[in-house]
Amino acid sequence: MTAGYPHRHLLGIEPLEPSHIQAVLDTAEALREVLDRPIKKVPALRGKTVVNLFYEPSTRTRASFEIAEKVLSADSLSIATSTSSVLKGETLLDTARNLEAMNPDMIVLRHSASGAPHFLARHCRSAIVNAGDGAHEHPTQALLDALTLRQKKGRLDGLRVAIVGDLMHSRVARSNVWLLTKMGASVVLCAPPTLVPPGIEALAPVTYRIDEAVEGADAIMMLRLQQERMTGGYFPTLREYHARFGLTEERVRRARKDVLILHPGPMNRGVEIASEVADGPWSVILDQVTNGVAVRMAVLYLLLGGTEAD
């Protein structure tokens, strides 16, 4: 907890003030430089212990937190469901409390149930970082997306951003809508009507036509279509989904020339995004991954009240 970020946890973007978001992004920007050093390690969080508790499969987010923890010299361990006593029927609270008995300073939680981080925050002593909860929020993803946009465009205020894909089940979409609108960007949402959650239009305008959504956009964020949604009866076929709602090269041409294409990964090539787009000159998908480490370093640093990095 610091003056710029006066919260004990990071549960979501919704409760944050623009100045708090600014503080995380500025800290990430400052810490990012460490990643370019020949010896990528600072003692900022020496003696602090972080537990990464992952109840859902994750490659990128988990690796990103682990690297951030190592660079800042925190002691960390990662627990994934497949290797833990969760399979023996232990509850989330019991698992968390047993881990707490080992006195960690922070628990980074990924869980399929929305609100699981709030539940831990209520019953545990540690600082809780939400690494994705159900369809609720994925705050560090939105922060790394914002950092990427800010680096490339120099600002967030006034940007026109299209968010396209499975809005219904996407925590990335919710966190990004909160963050971008709080920071003064104008957001347009696009999905087939079956994947538009009721009431989302109160946060940003919704269109069912991707051509409209991307028109004049400074950035296009594509959402991953999860496997289980592909057969859930939300739309007739993957072929039609790609044809009507996928991001093709032709559609990218409707956006601004210097448009940025973002995707939280992992991508379904040929479904929500064409390969030429994913690998094209507009794509900043790999910059997102690098910025992910910087943003997570910033969150760890701000929450654990680290000493000044040198």
């Binding site: 989330l92 699981a116 709030h118 009721p198």
Partner: protein
């Protein structure tokens, strides 16, 4: 039951007989014997109830006592004590016990336990279908004879329209009402709250109001088709109220209840409490427009009764992630006080209407004894103290269930004395 009890000087409110005034009430051998000005004591024990409200016993049409089978959640002993402390003289016990109350033997076992350990009357409700599996009808004749007062597959709604039709038809032979928990499972599957803007922000899967209302519409049409009697359990949406209202205007034999939590809270409570599982029940807390429609239904008579849907669970069932938590909250010990303060006190309904909703109408809907203080009727009396101050404290509940969305609320007015069969079953501060 023996004994003579005289309630002296209270304001007696008995809407069924249009009584509202300062009167004495004499109870002898479990029956109401006299109601009038200055009734002589003639050796009766005298209770001074000046300043209190004397009402026909309150009846909860929708209680889960959990016994037999889930005595870890509630028992007949603890559930009926909770009822007495909440001002209820009788509860209708839902059949989703383990085993399901789908046979006369189980009904008799419940009634035996209630006689031994219960402190208020227990009216068992039998199952609509065997095992509440929604397939073959249960034996309504046997269930009625053993003491069931209605049939319901509560918690496991009757999915098949054909089965519902047969149930409504067959129940006519035994003058049984079919109570339906209205829910179309293909629309509500996987939901933990109401579908709408709040669920969207919280990232929780929602059940649309229509998942309830399509079944209410179906049931009203089937009651019309069959001439059977249907009672809509815990109506929670504007469209459900509308369907019942239209059914009643056509003369369909349909009645409906609403719970205090649906009358007083909306799905915003899930958000405000940051996923507190004490806000999770089925049907879920709905929108403000739905809540307003329920209040209109209370006032215009579309909603017949207020029922608790008292659904106790263990701490373990509730102290988990929101998606994984059991549906249901307790209500017996808060319902009457909440409604006195937030419905009567707030000016939504009159005190007379409150007594109708908790006593006159529940008795009429299922044809139960009571619901009035007419001489010759059972000596079941709910005495209320309009000045009592209450702070809702789950730690002090008689119920084993502790989960309520009203914890910490401060209320004015509440139960003072609960009299069942002429005996004091509970008294405030004793």
């Amino acid at each position: 039951m023996s004994g003579r009890l005289l309630l002296r000087g209270g304001r007696v409110v008995d809407p069924g007989r249009s009584v509202d005034g300062e009167l004495d009430l004499l109870l002898v051998d479990g029956e109401v014997v006299d109601l009038g000005a200055r009734v002589p004591a003639r050796g009766a024990e005298v209770l001074d109830v000046a300043g209190l409200l004397v009402c026909p016993g309150f009846i909860d049409l929708h209680t889960h006592l959990r016994e037999p089978g889930r005595e870890d959640k509630e028992t007949i002993a603890t559930g009926t004590r909770a009822a007495a402390a909440g001002g209820f003289t009788a509860v209708c016990a839902m059949p989703n016990t383990e085993p399901v109350n789908d046979q006369a033997g189980i009904t008799r076992a419940i009634l035996d336990a209630a006689r031994r350990e219960g402190v208020v009357r227990v009216w068992p409700i039998g199952a609509v279908t065997r095992g509440s599996r929604g397939e073959e009808l249960a034996e309504y004749g046997d269930l009625r004879e053993a003491g069931c007062v209605a049939v319901s597959d509560d918690g496991r709604p009757v999915a098949s329209a054909r089965v519902m039709r047969r149930a409504l038809e067959y129940a006519k032979a035994f003058d049984l009402t079919v109570i339906d928990h209205c829910e179309e499972p293909t629309l509500s599957h996987g939901a933990s709250m109401n579908e709408g803007p709040v669920a969207t922000l919280l990232g929780l899967r929602g059940a649309p109001g229509a998942s309830e209302a399509v079944v209410v519409e179906r049931d009203v049409l089937l009651a019309e088709l069959t001439g059977g009697k249907v009672h809509i359990a815990h109506a929670s949406t504007a469209a459900s109220v509308d369907a019942v209202r239209r059914g009643k205007s056509r003369g369909v034999r349909v009645s409906a209840e609403a719970t205090p939590h649906h009358l007083l809270l909306t799905d915003e409570a899930v958000r405000a409490s940051e996923y507190d599982t004490s806000t999770k029940m089925n049907p879920p807390l709905r929108s403000e427009a739905d809540r307003q429609a329920l209040l209109r239904g209370l006032r215009d008579g579309t909603i017949d009764c207020i029922a608790t849907d008292h659904a106790p669970h263990t701490v373990d069932d509730k102290k988990v992630e929101y998606d994984m938590a059991a549906f249901g909250v307790v209500g017996l010990e808060t319902a009457v006080a909440l409604c006195l303060d937030r419905l009567v006190g707030a000016g939504h309904i009159t005190l007379t209407r409150l007594v109708e909703l908790f006593s006159t109408r529940p008795a009429a809907v299922l044809g139960l004894p009571g619901g009035t203080l007419a001489p010759g009727g059972p000596a079941d009396v709910t005495v209320l103290d309009p000045a009592r101050r209450i702070k809702v404290d789950p730690a002090r509940f008689a119920s084993k269930g502790r989960h309520t969305p009203f914890a910490g609320w401060t209320l004015k007015g509440g139960p003072a004395i609960t009299i069942v069969g002429g005996r004091v079953a509970w008294r405030q501060g004793r």
